[in-house]
């Protein structure tokens, strides 16, 4: 039987019958494995990139020294390890010079991931360092050279130890982790810590244990480690270490998966169409075989064998296509992609093979299996209906396959549900609405010229088939719209988070007397700074008269005593949005407070509650007047608690601000710290440029995937047109035999496809709005935003794209000699 199947395939191949089916299958497998490999490689690259932010693959953070048994366990499992220890301390330079520094002591292997940058002296060009400072030596932040009046080769004092300065530290992969570390960096070796004597039990320090190695081993180790952790110990992964970037990456991943699963749905439809066409064309052949004595069983075996061989060949070809698709893309866009793509592994090709199998079984097999039921009477009477019509069961099977495949690809039921909701709307509206529209279009065509009547009549005659085409085209356009819409809102949101000129330097501890002088100095340097905010340090002690437990005594997520920075303001600060209560009168004397919404939720605070705080030794009572939401990513000074000016103005305050400094103007900082030695400067520019770099990379990836999908959409459109090509060839030949010039035949085709495209466009826009709305709300945690421009875009794209592609794909209708067509068919 296998040989008979092979012979039949060979014969059909020469006859060109299998072309569309195989092409659709290969396309599906190629797309799925290509996108899968593409996203796998990007994800791998993004993941490696993100690990740079931790300087490791996994980090354990703790306020106490770590159990050395854990370290031995990790090394026993073949993981590489390193340690860092961070704390604020006072560094002593030449003579009387001293400054608060943020010390980071590192072990020999630091960093495990990413690059440490250093320079020989304060302003020499940066270069990559293989390791941190050796014992006895230290590297300083460039500004510390001026602040402490030291040069390379001099010594700085830290506690009881003297360290020789041998370089300037210019960049740490995990410096983002020290977001709130005050003071310029002093980096030293971990072995010198005991000699300094500054780290005592109870000191405010942060130990970090860094691990790197094989992902599987790491995951096992993490599972082993996590149950043993104390309350103040945390395992950091990208999400916990860098919530902003983690979220952006996760969204990007979902976006790519969405693109992949939509492509499969489209290909599935194309395969089903092609298989139906294949079996229609084989109905006569089967009738002949049956009239010659073939049984249903032998025909089932013959076609089953053929399809199995076909599936196998298509899977292999498709995987090759997928591989070359993604390889070509990475090569083409190598310059634009700031990442080095990682390895894809075998999973994409496994995904491709399984996809091929499912597509063959769920989409191609049902109509072909029904061939065995073809009546041998068809040999004599061609006008008998073919037995290959689809049943409800076929659609159910196809639907189940789509759902399972999408679930498998995305491993996210919410995403699957959102996409399916969009598709359900397309199918329901498509089949129902398209039939209705086609019918009314037909009535209109009756009164119009012959060209229109022909086009609209042709649309209506293939009513169900065209409704299906509308659905397919609608899906393709919807997919483009969804991707465009989601991409736009994703990119917008990311860009809004960190616009150009985001403040990248913070100044805190500004003495009230210095504030006006500082503002003048900044204005003179032409710097745009945020307003100066007063800052009062306070501790929340009780809510509504109930004392809060200390942090150590409170359970996880329970309200507890808490240190916060307070500020006062007559008006609602920029970027803040009131979510409950009311903002106060600017001159109010009442003791009110406005609380950040997340803080309020954590502490169980509501409008009207009374908060009892301690500023130094002085108590401060205030009633919660309003709750605010704010953008932490804005890099502007943000405060959990804001008071009316009258309430806070006689408490001791320092001032703070943030400003944007161009990288070329870094020297201004030296002047600033010299003129205002008591002010603490926090530099965020490196962190911000790292975050921005990641966002740029993700955006590039998203745009690449969109390009892949655009090509897919066009291919599926062409495949759809091909399915009806035989009929069109015949009709074109008849028309031309009757004396219609080419231009009229083409005109009718153009009208037909444009109208089809218009319907598809209407459908796509409605469905895309629903789908995007569901996606934004359910899967992407964004707000639903309607997009009016999708209407003209969708309709225009539908009519022009499908009109052009349709006429282009059907151009043979006017080029083949009519007699040849009429004789063939």
């Amino acid at each position: 039987m296998a040989r008979a199947s092979l012979r039949m395939l060979a014969r059909d191949w020469r006859g060109g019958e299998l072309g569309v089916l195989v092409a659709a299958l290969v396309l599906a497998v190629g797309l799925v494995s290509g996108i899968s490999a593409f996203t796998a490689r990007l994800q791998d690259a993004l993941e490696r990139e993100s690990h740079r932010f931790l300087a490791a693959d996994l980090v354990l953070r703790s306020a106490r020294p770590l159990d050395s048994a854990w370290l031995e366990e990790a090394e026993g499992r073949g993981l590489r390890t390193a340690q860092t220890l961070s704390f604020p301390s006072m560094a002593f330079g030449d003579g009387e010079r001293m400054h608060l520094v943020s010390v980071k002591a590192v072990s020999d292997n630091y960093p495990l991931r990413g690059e440490l940058l250093y320079a020989d002296s304060g302003f020499a060009p940066a270069q990559a360092a293989a390791r941190g400072p050796v014992p006895g030596e230290s590297w300083l932040d460039s500004r510390l050279f001026a602040l402490l009046e030291v040069e390379s080769g001099d010594e700085v004092g830290l506690g009881d130890a003297q360290l020789r300065v041998t370089g300037a530290v210019r960049g740490e992969p995990d410096q983002g982790a020290g977001f709130y570390g005050y003071g310029p960096r002093l980096m030293m070796h971990l072995d010198d810590i005991p000699a300094t004597g500054v780290v005592q039990p109870g000191s405010r320090v942060e130990y970090r244990q860094l691990f790197a190695g094989d992902p599987g081993v790491l995951e096992d180790f993490r599972q082993w480690l996590e149950p043993q952790l104390a309350g103040d110990q945390r395992v950091l992964d990208l999400d916990r270490g860098q919530p902003g970037i983690g979220r952006a990456l996760q969204r990007a991943e979902r976006f790519l998966l969405l693109a992949g699963s939509l492509a499969v749905v489209l290909a599935g439809v194309a395969i089903a169409l092609a298989a139906a066409r294949f079996s229609e064309r084989h109905a006569d052949y089967v009738a002949v075989m049956k009239s010659l004595g073939a049984t249903s069983g032998s025909i089932t075996r013959l076609y089953g064998g053929s399809l199995a061989l076909l599936g196998l060949a298509a899977a292999v070809t498709g995987c090759l296509l997928g591989w070359s698709l993604q390889a070509t893309f990475f090569r083409l866009f190598a310059d634009e992609l700031p990442l080095t793509p990682g390895a894809a592994g075998v999973r994409p090709y496994l995904v491709g093979a399984v996809t091929a199998m499912v597509c063959v079984l769920a989409f191609a097999w049902p109509p072909i299996r029904r061939l065995a039921g073809a009546s041998p009477l068809r040999v004599l009477r061609r006008d008998l209906p073919s037995a290959v019509r689809r049943s409800g069961g076929d659609y159910l099977l196809g639907f189940a396959a789509v759902v399972l495949l999408m679930l498998w690809y995305s491993q996210d039921w919410r995403l699957t549900a959102a996409v399916l909701a969009g598709m359900a709307v397309v199918v329901a509206l498509g089949v129902g609405g398209a039939l209705l529209l086609l019918r009314s279009g037909r009535a209109l065509g009756m009164r119009a010229g012959s060209l229109w009547r022909l086009a609209l009549g042709s649309l209506q005659r293939r009513g169900i088939g065209n409704a299906l085409q509308v659905v397919v085209f609608g899906l393709a356009i919807m997919q483009l719209l969804v991707l465009l819409l989601v991409r736009t809102s994703l990119l917008e949101e990311w860009r809004l988070q960190l616009p150009e000129n985001t403040p990248n330097h913070f100044l805190i501890n500004i003495a009230p007397a210095d504030a006006p002088r500082l503002e003048a100095a900044m204005a003179e340097a032409g710097l745009h700074s945020e307003p100066l905010f007063p800052m009062v340090r306070a501790r929340l002690m009780a809510i509504d008269g109930v004392d809060l437990p200390s942090r150590e005594d409170a359970g996880e997520d329970q309200p507890h005593q808490r240190e916060s920075n307070l500020t006062f303001s007559a008006t609602l600060p920029a970027d803040n949005e009131l979510v409950a209560g009311q903002w106060w009168d600017p001159d109010t004397q009442e003791s009110l407070v406005s609380v950040e919404a997340g803080y309020a939720e954590q502490m169980g605070l509501q409008v009207g509650d009374r908060m009892s705080l301690l500023v130094g030794e002085r108590p401060l009572e205030a009633k919660v007047a309003s709750l605010r939401s704010l953008q932490w990513e804005s890099m502007r000074p943000n405060f959990f608690l804001v008071f009316p000016p009258a309430v806070l103005s006689d408490y001791p305050a320092t001032w703070m601000t943030s400003f944007y400094l161009d990288p070329g103007d870094k020297l201004f900082l030296n002047r600033l710290v010299r003129e205002f030695p008591t002010v603490t400067l926090i530099e965020m520019d490196e962190v911000i440029s790292q975050v921005r770099g990641i966002i740029d990379q993700v955006s590039a990836a998203v745009e690449l995937v969109l390009a892949v999908i655009l090509v897919t959409g066009a291919l599926v459109l062409i495949a759809g047109v091909q399915a009806s090509l035989d009929e069109r060839l015949r009709e074109g030949a008849i028309l031309r035999a009757l004396g219609a010039p080419r231009s009229r035949v083409l005109g009718a085709l153009a009208i037909e496809f444009s109208v089809l495209g218009l319907f598809a466009g209407v459908l796509a826009v409605v469905a895309a709005e629903v789908g995007v709305g569901a996606l934004q709300v359910l899967a992407l945690d964004m707000r639903y935003t309607p997009s009016p421009w999708s209407w003209p875009l969708g309709l225009l794209a539908g009519a022009v794209l499908i009109g052009t592609l349709g006429v282009f794909s059907a151009r043979r209708v006017v080029s083949a000699p009519p007699v040849a067509v009429l004789r063939e068919l």
Binding site: L454, S458, R736, L738, G739, A740, P741, S743
Partner: protein, 210 residues
Amino acid sequence: MGGGELEILKGITLEIKGGDSVAIVGASGSGKSTLLGLLAGLDESSAGRVWLDGEDLGALDEDGRALLRARKVGFVFQAFQLLPALTALENVMLPLELRGEHSAGEQARRFLARVGLEARLDHYPRQMSGGEQQRVAIARAFAARPAILFADEPTGNLDTHTGERIVDLLFELNREEGTTLVLVTHDTGLAARCSRQLTLEAGALVGDTA
């Protein structure tokens, strides 16, 4: 046609006069359908020339031949070749509209009544039997009042009884309209009803009763 090596028709010279009815007969593969296609301007010959009602088909391009067909030629095919998207009435109206006639609907109705289908104007081809479809095709062919009508095995897909009725109709209309009729057939009975029979064998004209 089939490349330089294969000669499908060779050395055929013939003239068909207006008002004649001519049957082209011959075994399968003798080239009779090819000859019909060339005569009707549906195909281009690799050598030789064809004149249709005084016009040299070789001097016209595809669209030029289409215009000529619209003005002067009607067809009846073995497989009916009705446009499935159009009703019986619309199918018959089509060639009239292609010629830009204003009373297309009226004329089409008249010819459909002539072939006995006045009750089935709004039916689609798929809703009709083979005989009815061929009658629509005949109405379509005559409605445009062609100078010459080509028929390719007009009874090939029909049972004997229906076939006979279709042939009767064809000749009746041919007489009424004074059309030149050229048909290809296997059916010796049908061929005998024509005033002239051309016999083809392996691409060569071996018999001509004229």
